[in-house]
Structure formats: C-alpha cells, structure tokens
Symmetry: C2
Subunit: 305 residues, 2 copies
C-alpha cells in the first residue's frame, strides 16, 4: 500500500484546459503574468495554449502570441493542443516545445464532440505525428471519458486500453487518462489502471481528473498506489466554478501539491508561490477558486497578518 | 490494496457538529424536518444535539426539545454530546439513545479549548460514564486534533493512542478520530492508523475528517484500506462555508456516499434523498453547500428537467 513514487511530475493545465473552460476571455498580458507565476512556483510542464479555431475556443485565440512571448531557457516545457495539420503548423511556427492530441475512449462522445469516430479521429492525427517527427517534437496523447461518458455511461477499461495503445503506437510518449466528467471513483480507477498496466508501463501514463464529485484526490491517491507519477492539474482548480451548474473543473494543483507534500512525495512546487499565481488569475475571473487548499492557505495567511 | 470493508456505517453529524459551526441558528421545526430527511435517506446513526451551555453554543440550545420530538422506533440511533454530569442528566431526561464525550490529543488544544489538561478532561467524564452504565447507554469517544493542532502543529500517533486507549478503558465502545483542523494527508492517516491498530481493533475506530484542505476523501480511502468501517460526515458538508476564512466543514456525506457507491461498498444511504434533506436545510443557511457531489447532482437533475 505504501508503494508510492518518490517524485511526481505535475502537468499544469490551468492556462489551457482551465482557462478554456472559463466564461471570461483573459487578456494576453494577464495570461503571460499567470504563466510567469506558475514558473516561479516551480512548475516544469505547462500546457500554455491550443491551436484550434478561435470560433470554437475564443479563450485560446491568442495562443500564437502566448508562445511567442514565453521566456526562453526557463527550464520548463510549454505544450499546446494541436488537433490537426493546420494547428500543428501554427504550433511549430509559434515555437512550441511539445504538442498534444486527443481522442475519446467513448464512441458516442467522439461522434458528438468532434463529429467523427474514434478511428477517424486517430487518422486525422497522422500529419501531426509526421510533422512532430520532422521537427523532433514530443507528442502527448489525451484520452477522454476514461471513467465515464455523458452519453454512454460507464466505459470499459478495454476501450481505454485500445485507444491508448493506438496513440502510443502512433508515436505518443505519454497518455494522459482523462476523467472528463469527473464521475470516477477509486475502485474504478484501480480497475482501469490494473487493465492498462498489464500492457503499458506506468512511466507512459498520466492521470487527469476533474473534481466534479469531489473524487479527484482519492482517485489520484489510487493512481499513485499503482505507480503513476505524472498528474495533470490546474492552478486554483481553474475551469470549474464551485457553484455553477455542472461545473467540472480540473483538480486543483494546490490540493494535489498539499497532499504530495504531506506524503513526502517531491514535486518541486512552492505552494505559496502557486497560491500567489492563482490569486492573480482569479482576480480576473467571475468566481471564487474551487481549490480548498488555496482558500485555506489564503485564510490562514490573512489571519496571521 | 483492495482490502476494503463490504459495508460502512455512516455517523451523520450534520445536525450537531455541522449546525453548531454555522453562523445561523436554525429553528426547531426546520431542524426536525432536516433530521426526518436524514432518516428518509436511510441514515441510521444520527448525532442530533449536545447538552452544553447555550451561552457557549446557542445553536444547540434546543437539544432537549429536539430529542423530545424525535420519532420513536425509527430504527436509528440518536446521539448527543454530553461534556459533564449536568449535560448527561439532561440528555438522559431527554431520552437520548447514545451519548458522546470528547478529549483532545493535543495538550495545548485541551488547555485553550476547554481550559484543562487532557487528564483533567478525562476525569470530568467519570460521572458521565457512571450514569451511562446505570442507564445502559453506550458512550462514544471523540478524540480531536489527531492529525494536527492549531497550537502545536503535528501530533504524535502515540499521543492519540494514549487518549484513545484511556477512553476505551473508561467505557467508550468506539473512538472517533477527529482531524479537527483538516490538515491531515494520506501518509499521516496511514501512520496514525498503523500505530492505533497495533493495540485497538479496527471495529472500535471511526474516522472524522474535515475537508479544509480537500484531503478528506483521500484520507477516508486510506482508512478504508486499513479496515475502518465507520465514517463521520455531515450532510452537504455542513459546518463549513466554501469561501469563508478558515472554513473547515465536515466532509460531506454526499461525497462519501458517492465514493462508497462507486466502490460497491454498502452504506444504506439513498443519495438523492440525502441531497433533498441537505437542500432543505441549506435553504435556511447563508451560504452554498460545500459538497461537490450535492452540487453536481443538483445541476444534473436541473439539466434533465
């Protein structure tokens, strides 16, 4: 039971997955100051934008400008979502360090979300993988709906394995397993990982939980017990309003870091610097942060002062 | 790792520990309707009040009236906090099913919170235990600050063991381990339980987590892995405002039940009936519920309708 990794890498997705799901569109200088704050907090893997149509995702319309303005030699890796050849060319032009593609583990979700089958979605990534090889860029694969789908309900671990294995075969170096609707619980997390780990080494897997039902940290704990050492999270719990209908923000980086610190698992993140970065970005949003640790630390510091 | 109990008993503390920490004082009929809702949801162990000075805890001033009005033969056990002989006599008079006493694992917390040493606090319970034996009432023991103290910081598992063992020796049938300030993380939970379980059987232990730093469900998961099968929680996460400074509500019963349901662990609670009970009481409070599962289910049902 204490087979925990000594070190964990956090993939900070607040600036992309988080901000993309906020109602407010954040101005470029604010976004850059936020990313700068994340760097100061010690985060080394930062998802900073996506190269998709600004018609569909207006929050990410400035991704090229973001990447053009990011610091050089920060020691961090900045990645972007690139759904197709056009996006990939723009990402390369903007100087991204790493790209990401995404596929669903649920056929219905794939059809309704991106209007094609899982297989077709994987085919569409061929030029992305080709360009990535040409430009020596690593490709991360996101698999969505690994625990459940809003249309199909529960998703079989075998279905997650199939799409994950295909993405690895095509050239992804890591698969991020996304509980998109946040319905997963620890038993399900354990069953899913047990299935995947028969074929895929733990070093190629990351977990990406949403805290819709408050289950994210318990699920992450189970993932750690299975040897997973890469965790996606968003500063302050960006992307979910604690009171909004159906809010399903990413698990908050602060909550994850607090847990890891308490367990003696290194992640290299300064939690107070992280709270400072989150506070700065939430000043520009229309709701309070979902992160309980962030709120507790702010209250504690306020009481001390 | 899958050494989970098949069944878990939930001790619903919302009507006492929860409401006691809310700014609003709830009227008797509303409180009774809330408890009725908890019964409808299938909860079998309900903490319904405390017999303490109304000067200190005005929210519990009507506890005698609450117990006098509770349904007979509901199949549930209604308990009350009884800090001393006077409170115990009032509790017996009001017809409680079970009583509870409390002691701290931290000397500084005991001194500052109840103005006496841990040992003195235990001595004060002598008449409570004596009257309990005379009236054939079971006594539950709460131990606070088991993971940390606001004045001393970390608390040694040995200190928790000592006070827990003394309470058991004096006649408690069960010890509820309280992470009063919500700072505990899974590693600490595991170390504490490993120490206690060398001497005390799992069947005599319950866990009582506060969700201040969002760690409660992860800690409960670890407790389940150690064979603990009694969990304290409060409907809707009563007792903590998601945005208040230093809010430290109990873990939400809905979040616990959602996790147990997902893991196939029986607890006998109908989650939708529970959300209905919580909704009714939160209509009388000045803030939104802290429970993520409650908010997610309400949003889902709203979208369906």
């Amino acid at each position: 039971m204490s087979n925990y990794p000594r070190q964990v890498s956090i993939v900070e997705v607040g600036a992309r997955d988080g901000l993309q799901n906020e109602a407010s569109v954040i101005e470029l200088p604010v976004k850059l100051a936020f990313i700068d704050g994340l760097l100061r907090a010690g985060l080394k893997r930062i998802e900073a934008g996506s190269f998709v149509s600004p018609k569909w995702v207006p929050q990410m319309a400035d991704s090229a400008a973001v990447f053009n303005s990011l610091p050089q030699n920060s020691g961090a890796t900045f990645s972007a979502l690139t759904p197709n050849e056009k996006g990939m060319l723009a990402a390369i032009d903007a100087g991204v360090d790493e790209v990401a593609v995404f596929a669903a583990a649920s056929e219905s979700f794939s059809q309704r979300n991106i209007n094609c089958s899982i297989e077709q979605s994987l085919e569409r990534f061929e030029p992305v993988f080709r360009l990535a090889r040409q430009h020596n860029l690593r490709v991360r694969g996101y698999v969505s709906c690994v625990m459940g789908c809003p249309y199909e309900g529960a998703i079989r671990p075998d279905a997650v394995l199939a799409v994950s294995q295909t993405l690895l075969d095509k050239g992804c170096y890591e698969i991020s397993l996304g509980d998109t609707i946040g319905t997963g619980t620890p038993g399900q997390t354990s069953r899913l990982l047990s299935t995947l780990l028969k074929t895929i080494p733990a070093s190629k897997l990351a977990v990406h939980f949403h805290d819709t039902y408050g289950q994210a940290l318990a699920n992450i704990l189970v993932a750690l017990q299975h040897g997973i050492s890469v965790i996606d999270s968003a500063a302050g719990g960006l992307g979910g309003c604690p009171y909004a209908a159906g809010a399903s923000g990413n698990v908050a980086t602060e909550d994850v870091v607090y847990m890891l610190n308490g367990m003696g698992i290194e992640c290299g993140v300064d939690i107070n610097a992280l709270v400072a970065a989150s506070t700065q970005i939430f000043d520009h949003l229309n709701h309070e942060p979902a992160s309980r640790t962030m709120r507790a630390l702010l209250a504690k510091n306020h009481n001390v002062m």
